[in-house]
Symmetry: C2
Subunit: 263 residues, 2 copies
């Protein structure tokens, strides 16, 4: 299957899935200015996209395994596992906020090796193939923020940051709604850093290779190694993760603490 | 000039201005994945939109005054003053984040009486004419959040919330980038409340009537009266403002404090 270009396929699939999700997002926005009590319609969108992606991957790479939020295998004969997050940021999607995305990651021998994160509302496609640079809509991106202590700079924080973290960063904090998008914002130098709370493999598998290839770093809050086994079993990380450019990582990480009493 | 329909004109003008801004936003996003050092190009967009709106208002309502961020008059012979914020959320715009808007407000005898807030990236137009309900893309909206203490609910906070406020709200906090948009999110029941830090007349003149007409309330943090004179002179409010639905206002406000040492 080496003749297939994973990057190109990932982008095509993510854009197709995103176009489908966007249509429903816009219909919903037009039809229901008020919140619907039942969010089962989002689950349906999520499942439909996962089904769509699973079929496309199975057809292009029949030997690879696929893990979605619905589960999947833990080992593949060729060491390749696709990890899907049909809609990362369902909370945003449901509340008709713009930052949510389709995330597709490819693990090779257990490590995120290629990924694609597509934000339909903004038509932004972040991509890292098995080799080559990270790109945003085809243009190379780099995680570098020389002015990261500037008051106009910002870091991405989770929506529970108001009780979970103590942040002494002098710039802005923004909670926009999607973990995968936050990592991509660091990769493209929009954000100076991102705290990822309760991240699971689905949230980061697509964005991780993009960040790494752009010159950024994603690590545990304590700096310890990732508990991959835990991730593969579908659990969230048992501590926050932190993303920043290689250059700014230590300084930015030094400005965040867990709040007293936060678990 | 009473034969003109202010609401319809405001929407037309805001959509035209937004379309112009969106084009530049997208060109910039395509052309410059990395941050430009010089943000003068945004100032130019801002000034062009203000110029465009001033001309349209002068033509439709030659007796009315217009205040933009560039200044304007403090009194008009007929009691009508238009207050423009060509791009509310320039920080978002510059960092290519989606939440920014064009805001047009109409004060009558010193009080915000009609307004329009248009978010070009999402094509969302919030509107309140001199009479009638508040609408979002033509559909009536209401500020009401019976499930405002639900963990999926959210409140909008400023980007300095990490050091300025102590928030015991059990739901999510989001910092999305635009004061006017935050107020409209409360008006449409997407957000349960919004803290507005350092708000100026430009930030709220368009959104205020929308919130009020939708059944919401915007007040000072202390609950004291607005210092309108201060606003008219172009200064920011000297304390935070707080927006919520009438029903939830007291409870939501009770969950926010200024942080120790914050000014």
């Amino acid at each position: 299957m080496q003749s297939h270009d994973e990057a190109q396929l990932m982008e095509t699939w993510a854009r197709q899935a995103g176009a489908y999700a966007l249509e429903i997002f816009q219909d919903y926005a037009a039809a229901a200015p008020r919140r619907k009590a039942d969010n089962s319609w989002v689950t349906e969108v999520d499942e439909n996209i996962e089904q769509m992606l699973r079929q496309q991957i199975a057809q292009a790479f029949p030997d690879d395994l696929v893990m979605g939020e619905e589960g999947g295998g833990h080992a593949s004969s060729n060491g390749r596992i696709w990890v899907l997050d049909p809609i990362d940021g369902t909370g945003s999607f449901v509340k008709r906020l713009p930052v949510w995305c389709v995330s597709i990651g490819l693990l090779v021998d257990g490590y995120p090796a290629a990924g694609c994160v597509y934000l339909p509302v903004l038509d932004e496609c972040y991509l890292a193939g098995l080799t080559g640079p990270a790109t945003l809509n085809g243009q190379e991106i780099h995680a570098e923020n020389p002015d990261f202590l500037d008051s106009q700079s910002w870091m991405a924080v989770p929506s529970n940051a108001h009780w979970r973290y103590k942040i002494s960063y002098p710039g802005k904090t923004r909670s926009l709604g999607s973990t995968a998008a936050n990592v991509c914002y660091v990769a493209s130098s929009r954000a100076c850093a991102a705290i990822l709370g309760n991240a699971s493999l689905w949230d980061i598998a697509g964005a991780w290779p993009i960040l790494e290839r752009a010159g950024g770093k994603l690590s545990t809050f304590s700096g310890g190694p990732f508990d991959w086994q835990r991730f593969y079993e579908g659990s969230s990380a048992n501590e926050p993760l932190f993303a920043a450019s290689n250059d700014n990582y230590a300084t930015m990480r030094g400005m965040i603490d867990l709040a007293k009493g936060a678990i």
